[in-house]
Symmetry: C2
Subunit: 284 residues, 2 copies
């Protein structure tokens, strides 16, 4: 056991324990930040668990960076289960009480965007993809992409259009969204159709993901057999056409503040309720 | 190595390899379904990786059930990283090519619902919570909850109201939604405000999560200092009042079909675009 691992350990009446922080739900969180021998760790975990049980703690969280993968087995053998993982760490959890587990759920949805971008000639920005389901089908589709960690819906839509086609845009509104399930390793998928206003028009295509990109008359886009025959694509195309004819209103983002004081966006029908909000209160 | 583990292994010119399935993105997926010694597994993984590299495979996925936690370290030492985890398994991944990693992202959002349920006396269904941020504040809030794996937004809203208050409801529409970040272990949060029509009126409170529940005049709900002063809650309350006065339209779900043939719901402004869709095509 390297000397630095002592940082992880505190003493209680001569018994060595893992260093843990209390959370606001009656539980504790252990962040393993130093290398440790797995046998030593297992023993520390055992005495710590006894202490936490005695103290009436509820959820015990252990965050293990991937470089300390040697400790995973010890944590699972102590009765923990996986909670979630990111590329560089694994979070394990154990609910001590005999009552029903009130632990928060893992993230359940991948959120993606589709972008409707139209120029002044009623032409819509479309692409053909190099990979995945649409590869080699010849189908022209709206630019799409996945929201990155911590990214706003509007920012993701602007970024994806810029990455795939080089076109600069400004976010206008959410036209519709679709929830589907088991889209990827049992996870659900929220696909948000956004309208954006182009601020540039010269296409510079990203070659790693995009096979072709162009401005295409919206009617030609909607008339593609796949779009007409697929109920999901067809429905979205109908809504887009209605929007372009000025007969549709979606949800517009309003800057606001969450309970915990974070900046957030509330998406709502501004056309009908915009008069309720003063721009002084809601500043981005 | 137990005899049953042989099920995991195939032979290629005398060299033992892990049994893998090809995915549709040029990669392979290994589902470990039998116990295996970690040293034996490490050696099989090494020869398999050589083979996959030779074959030009891209992403290699290894799904390890939690009961085979003894193999995690061997997979990480072979150069894999975590992709995601659920209570009962860990998914690890490795991108073989030297080109940029095109692996899909992990789920990034927890999706929650808030429910606006109003009776014929302009009273709204409100609760006080036993746990978390609102515990002991005396604040009356709309019932809220988290969408479970594979659950529709509308079903989650109906379930949460029933669980917390015993009230039966029917889903009407999405009034607004809010996206916020770093709400929980760096994950983002999508909070969807739904309107539901009550089908029963006698409250039967769930005691594990709810401290109090009642029907409350909507104006009294909106007049609570916390609701008035908090920009997020205040904005949602204003939209709810506008809806109850018949002056607001949100997004209504339309049954549709995804590209891969799954049933999905598209949420859109039906008030403006409902005439575009025939109920014959869109059956739930």
């Amino acid at each position: 056991m390297p000397a630095s691992a002592a940082l992880e350990v505190m003493e209680d009446r001569g018994i060595k324990l893992l260093n843990a922080k209390e959370d606001s739900y009656g539980g504790v969180v252990v962040n393993v930040e130093e290398p440790m021998d797995s046998v030593v760790f297992a023993s520390l975990l055992q005495s710590s668990m006894s202490k936490w049980r005695e103290q009436g703690k509820k959820g015990v969280w252990i965050k293990l960076p991937i470089k300390y993968v040697n400790l995973v087995e010890a944590v699972v053998k102590a009765g923990f289960r996986y909670h979630h993982a990111e590329p560089d760490y694994l979070m394990l959890v154990h609910w001590i009480p005999k009552t029903a587990d009130l632990l928060p759920a893992n993230a359940s949805h991948v959120v993606g965007i589709g972008a409707l971008v139209m120029n002044d000639n009623r032409e819509v920005l479309v692409v053909q993809e190099c990979n995945g389901w649409f590869k080699g089908t010849g189908i022209w589709k709206l630019p799409t992409g996945t929201i990155e960690e911590g990214e706003d819906i509007s920012a993701a839509a602007v970024r994806e259009v810029k990455e795939e086609t080089g076109i600069e845009t400004e976010f206008v509104e959410v036209l519709a969204f679709r929830q589907s399930h088991k889209s990827f390793f049992q996870k659900s998928d929220m696909f948000i159709v956004c309208m954006l206003q182009p601020r540039s028009f010269d296409i510079q295509m990203q070659t790693s993901e995009i096979a072709a990109a162009q401005w295409m008359p919206i009617e030609d886009y909607a008339a593609q057999p796949f779009v007409k025959q697929n109920l999901g694509f067809g429905s979205i195309a109908k809504i887009c056409l209605e929007k372009l004819d000025g007969k549709y209103t979606g949800f517009t983002p309003l800057p606001t503040i969450s309970t915990s004081g974070k900046k957030t966006y509330l998406y709502f029908n501004k056309h009908l309720a915009g008069h309720l909000f003063s721009s002084k209160d809601h500043q981005a």
